[in-house]
Subunit: 341 residues, 2 copies
């Protein structure tokens, strides 16, 4: 039954006493083959345990039914739920998913580019703002592709993300409503568009509240926990302190909280902190983190839907989908302390 070498279409054909063409048709266009023949073929398939060689099929067809998801960092807490959204949507349309991990390494990206060039994937989902394929990028012949989180620089690739500006606005508005005037923004970054958009939301919120430039502090940070902690350290070298920290993402916020606690401050009594993303551990912090939630599963679902559209029509209905992020109020935000109000 389970031989050392897998059954081919020819084995099935021999047993069913038909030609290989008929077997192929019985599988992929059953209505084109007589009932009796289809029955024979199915029996032969059952006997041999035949399963069509996807590679040969893709080689012949020039396309596969796998979709490659390329991400720079699998460990990103934002990743796994989006992936589930992607998978469920793909699956219900007969596509499978494979994940490529680049670790932000162009060489690794190249590997996946070869994979794509061999038509081993019908489509591509990109988790980076840049095409991770080094200089080959420009000449690369990519399959239908969709970006997640951020537009892909090379252009022409639709993407789905979250309305970062609106999300940041919700955070800053909450802080202002609580009475904060001097609010630091932690995690400015020129490398990630999403981050600079969040900063735009910060600025817009302060503008709308008539809070002047002199009350604004923007601290560098790359979105890691460590960068949040460092930002706090830096800040305490300065003369004036904010009463609240609006962080570019949850990791940064966690770093900020660690830094503040290390100096003996209480949150939110002494300082308020907000994050962005609502990563799984946000709810388990002490205090639990007030943040902006990304609808991750929905992002995945929409991204894949867009890609599937591309795969059938050739033209996507829209080229940019921004989902609405939600404010999740927990316990890391309070009124500013009377003394420093």
């Amino acid at each position: 039954m389970s031989n050392s070498t897998p059954a081919t279409i020819e084995d099935v054909a021999r047993i069913a006493n038909v030609s290989i063409a008929t077997v192929s048709r019985a599988i992929h266009m059953p209505e084109k083959v007589a009932n009796s023949t289809r029955l024979k073929v199915n029996q032969a398939i059952a006997i041999t345990g035949y399963t069509t060689n996807a590679m040969a099929r893709s080689l012949r067809l020039g396309r596969s039914n796998m979709i490659l998801v390329v991400a720079p960092d699998i460990g990103d807490p934002n990743f796994s739920n989006i992936l589930i959204g992607l998978e469920n949507e793909a699956r219900s349309h007969g596509y499978g998913i494979l994940i490529g991990h680049t670790q932000n390494d162009a060489q690794r990206g190249l590997e996946y580019l070869k994979f794509l060039n061999s038509n081993q994937a019908a489509g591509l989902i990109l988790f980076t703002g840049i095409l991770p394929f080094g200089h080959q990028t420009m000449t690369a012949r990519l399959p239908p592709s969709v970006g997640v989180f951020e537009p892909v620089f090379n252009g022409g690739i639709p993407y789905v993300g979250v309305d970062d500006i609106a999300g940041a606005r919700k955070a800053i508005d909450l802080l202002i409503t609580e009475g904060h005037r001097k609010i630091a923004f932690v995690g400015d970054s020129r490398t990630r568009l999403a981050y600079s958009r969040r900063r735009m939301g910060y600025e817009a919120g302060l503008d709308a509240a008539g809070i002047g430039q002199d009350l604004r502090i923007v601290l560098e940070g790359d979105g890691t926990i460590e960068s949040g902690r460092l930002a706090v350290e830096q800040l305490f070298m300065r003369d004036t302190l904010p009463t609240a920290f609006m962080c570019v993402n949850d990791q940064t916020a966690i770093g900020v909280m660690i830094g503040l606690k290390a100096r003996g401050y209480d949150i939110p009594e002494d300082f308020s902190v907000t994050g962005f993303d609502d990563v799984p551990q946000a709810v388990f912090m002490t205090p639990s983190l007030t943040t902006i939630r990304q609808p991750r599963t929905a992002i995945g679902k929409h991204a894949m839907a867009l890609l599937l559209e591309l795969l059938s029509d050739g033209e996507p209905a829209e080229t940019e989908i921004l989902l609405r992020p939600d404010l999740i109020v927990r316990n890391s935000v309070g009124a500013p302390p009377r003394s420093r109000r």
Copy 2:
């Protein structure tokens, strides 16, 4: 330059004015071809941007240079570092990595089984204790495979993991040394072998210290944060309380800490807590979590090395590799409170 259809070996051959066989040789056995010819071919490759069609190559060769990593849960905080170990090792031997996510769903597993059956992957790394391929499992023709964390039930598949018993022993010994006598084990499970081994370490440590069965409490749990929290809730319905919680993994420990804090207790003043794994957030808990570290990158490296051995030799040097876990002392363990000692 970048045409709509990718260059084939034939395009290169035409431009270089040689046969396709020569092109193939120039690429894969350069020493077999004259210098001048090799030069011509390389130029032609540069002009066309040719990259060999991995699918056609694998079809012909009956093997690919990709390795499939199948994991039930990509979001597992243990996963990403192991993956990096796997990738680095694979890469340095000319193999690429693809990840399959099963979500513990047999149907999804089947997808990847087809992938394997088509020789699209040369080897398989399995992150589950069970082959995730449903009933087809028995007849499945698998490529060389290696398990991670736990032996694969179907048998015959070598694996690399951590010495769970020894690790658990380190945790329990620490608690005993601190003076704890009544220590609860949280997260008993019959489904995961690693977990039941950790429990064996717990029992062995208590035995060695001469602490009787009457002082032992074992609480069910599936390794999630929620299960840890629930275990605490259950426990407080009982008559006697432990002074320490030894948890089957960090997630459970986090849940226990949340449960204890919710009831107003201080850690480690009122209760001590240990985890297992040393997931990234362990260090960021308040108090930071004392736990057992899994050498994740090393696990990945060893697993891949084992697989590569299998791919070349056919026979692995060893069939089971258990790495030594380390005790990481942080702040969640202290002496039991005098009143309840």
